[in-house]
């Protein structure tokens, strides 16, 4: 009886595999809702945009507002801050991408013009979350006169670009637009 020979697959083998495959797909389909429920829910996604009046922000000062649970910095820069940021050669930057979803062209280099609001270089609007592990950097401090993150020592310049420390990327810029000269809509 027990002769070792290559046994032809039978109808039964086919049924085993087919049943197992259906069970595996069914199992995966049953698990999916339990994984997907942890993603942002409809009410979280609905909080998509915020209007901010920036008319009262004097040159050299800034406000922080909350958008999607995160801080957003809106800073009215001084001419010196703008000059300092412009003077930095590209080669000195750790992250050469502008991290700005509002840019339209193919050129996304992290120049000062690509970081500031388009056509309004005295305004810079950024998500105030350190790209290292998410602390809120402190304004007008650090080695480059921009922002400094106290958590693990990341220094950003006056255009919010990472210059020193463990953070890998420039401070991200949220999608926004000026709805008029004194109002911006974030999101």
């Amino acid at each position: 009886m027990a002769t070792p020979s290559v046994v032809e697959p039978t109808r039964r083998d086919f049924l085993y595999i087919a049943t197992g495959a259906v069970a595996a797909v069914g199992g995966a389909a049953a698990v999916w809702p339990f994984i997907a429920q942890m993603n942002p829910d409809a009410s979280t996604l609905a909080l998509a945009s915020t209007d901010v009046n920036i008319g009262a922000i004097a040159e050299g000062s800034a406000i922080t507002i909350k958008w999607r649970g995160k801080p957003v910095f809106i800073r009215h820069r001084t001419p010196k801050e703008i000059e300092d940021a412009k003077a930095v050669p590209m080669a000195d930057l750790i992250d050469q991408d502008a991290r700005n979803p509002n840019l339209t062209g193919d050129n996304t280099q992290a120049t000062d013009a690509h970081r500031a609001a388009e056509g309004k270089e005295n305004w810079i609007i950024m998500i105030g979350t350190c790209t290292h592990l998410g602390c809120v950097p402190i304004g007008q401090s650090g080695n480059f006169g921009g922002w400094f993150c106290p958590c693990h020592g990341s220094h950003y310049d006056t255009a919010g670009r990472i210059r020193q420390g463990p953070a890998p990327e420039n401070l991200h810029i949220p999608p926004y637009q000026f709805t008029n000269d004194t109002t911006i809509r974030i999101g």
Partner: protein, 416 residues
């Protein structure tokens, strides 16, 4: 749990029950008749201390949940309500908060005990690995529990730790959004952490069950590292180990009570009595003390992904310890070189803990990097090589011989 039960109830009701569910026999063979090496010292009482602390955390935790509200607008105030209004609420919350620290003190002692006496070696590898799993679950539980009071440290600790996952290439951002249930640490995050903080201790209890099962299959190691050879090497668990464990637990409870009643906030952070504010990070954020060595390793590497990998590797390396240590001799008592490296490792781990609490600047960075390098050097280079280089001291033939050489030789022979 191995071997035959000698449990033989005389009472007919017990006999009837035992024939249907032999659980009393299991308890008897595990905790009464179970043979324990006769030379166990007090470092072996920490297993019982840990079981006690798990019980303390579960009981106080269930009581806290009766008064706590897991919502970002109410969590902080509900904890203050526990502290001020609930009868004995202050006591129960301080027990739980300090209990977590005591639990970690005990687990670190327990782990270093195993490292000193080579308890992770053949045939106890699975026992050791289950222990590392418990340690990981404890870290997850402690981290999520610390988020619940929703103070400044709760929030910013949660932000920094969950952001570790954003270092994963390509999917990092999707993973963190999934963990948060939003675009930042917010109410959905607090709710799921609460749910998991309630669940994980019971999973720990389950793994502790497996850990004890594995222990009772291989038998306990002992300070000589020489396996039990005959029944003269052992004493029954009850009364010997029971009483010794009970004494260890009472001493530990005195230590616990000192923190609880005299310095209940010493191990915490003042900033956690400030309600969470997502717009401002405290100037100096540090995790709970029991995470500090790992936090120091995270910060030692000047690269985001690299730091995260090093931190997890520091724990993962423990899983491989049974195979990284190439020496056949278990106990450091008979390993003159290893014994010295053990103390260096302990000092390095304490040093990492100190660096983890300091701001990341100047010399602290340099020292943090050196200590991190040594930590990995110990496990990946020194340990594997030592097994070949070191000449161990002669081992005693048995536990009994070792015990007699120490205590018996001085006594005059009976009847002389």
């Amino acid at each position: 749990m191995s071997g035959h039960s000698t449990f033989d109830p005389k009472n007919p009701a017990l006999k009837w029950f035992e024939a249907r569910l032999p659980i009393l026999g299991l308890a008897h063979s595990s905790f009464v008749a179970y043979p324990t090496p006769k030379n166990l010292n007090y470092w072996w009482t920490f297993g019982a201390i840990l079981s006690m602390m798990l019980g303390v955390q579960i009981i106080t935790g269930i009581v806290l949940v009766m008064h706590y509200t897991p919502h970002v607008d109410m969590a902080f105030n509900s904890v203050e309500h526990i502290m001020r209004d609930v009868n004995y609420g202050w006591l129960i919350r301080y027990m739980h908060a300090n209990g977590a620290s005591m639990f970690f003190i005990a687990v670190y002692v327990h782990i270093f005990r195993g490292v000193y006496y080579g308890s992770y070696k053949d045939p106890r590898e699975v026992l050791w690995i289950l222990g590392v799993v418990i340690f990981l679950l404890m870290m997850a539980t402690g981290f999520m529990g610390y988020v619940l009071p929703w103070g400044q440290m709760s929030l910013w600790g949660a932000i920094v730790i969950t952001n570790l996952f954003s270092a994963i290439p390509f999917v990092g951002e999707a993973v963190t959004t999934w963990l948060w249930g939003g675009f930042a640490v917010d109410n959905p995050t607090l709710n799921r952490f609460f749910s998991l903080h309630y669940l994980l201790p019971f999973m720990i209890a389950g793994v502790v069950g497996l850990h004890v099962w594995a222990l009772h299959v291989s038998g306990q190691n002992n300070p000589t590292g020489v396996e039990v050879k005959s029944s003269s090497d052992t004493v029954p668990f009850t009364p010997y180990a029971t009483v010794k464990d009970a004494f260890g637990m009472v001493c530990f409870l005195i230590f616990f009570a000192w923190f609880l009643f005299y310095v209940p906030n010493y191990l915490g952070h003042a900033d956690n009595y400030i309600p969470a504010n997502p717009l401002s990070t405290p100037a100096h954020i540090v995790p709970e003390w029991y995470f500090l060595p790992f936090y120091a390793i995270l910060r030692a590497i000047p690269d985001k992904l690299g730091g995260v990998i090093a931190m997890f590797a520091a724990i993962v390396v423990l899983f491989f310890l049974p195979w990284l240590d190439t020496s056949k001799v278990r106990s450091a008592r008979y390993r003159p070189l290893y014994r010295q490296f053990f103390w260096v490792l302990l000092a390095v781990c304490l040093g990492l803990g100190y660096i983890g609490a300091m701001p990341p600047e100047g010399w602290y960075i340099v020292i943090g990097r050196l200590l991190t390098a040594y930590y990995f050097l110990h496990f990946l280079v020194i340990l594997p090589l030592l097994g070949f280089i070191e000449k161990p001291l002669p081992l005693p033939a048995s536990i009994t011989e070792a015990v007699l050489a120490k205590n018996g030789a001085a006594k005059p022979a009976v009847g002389a």
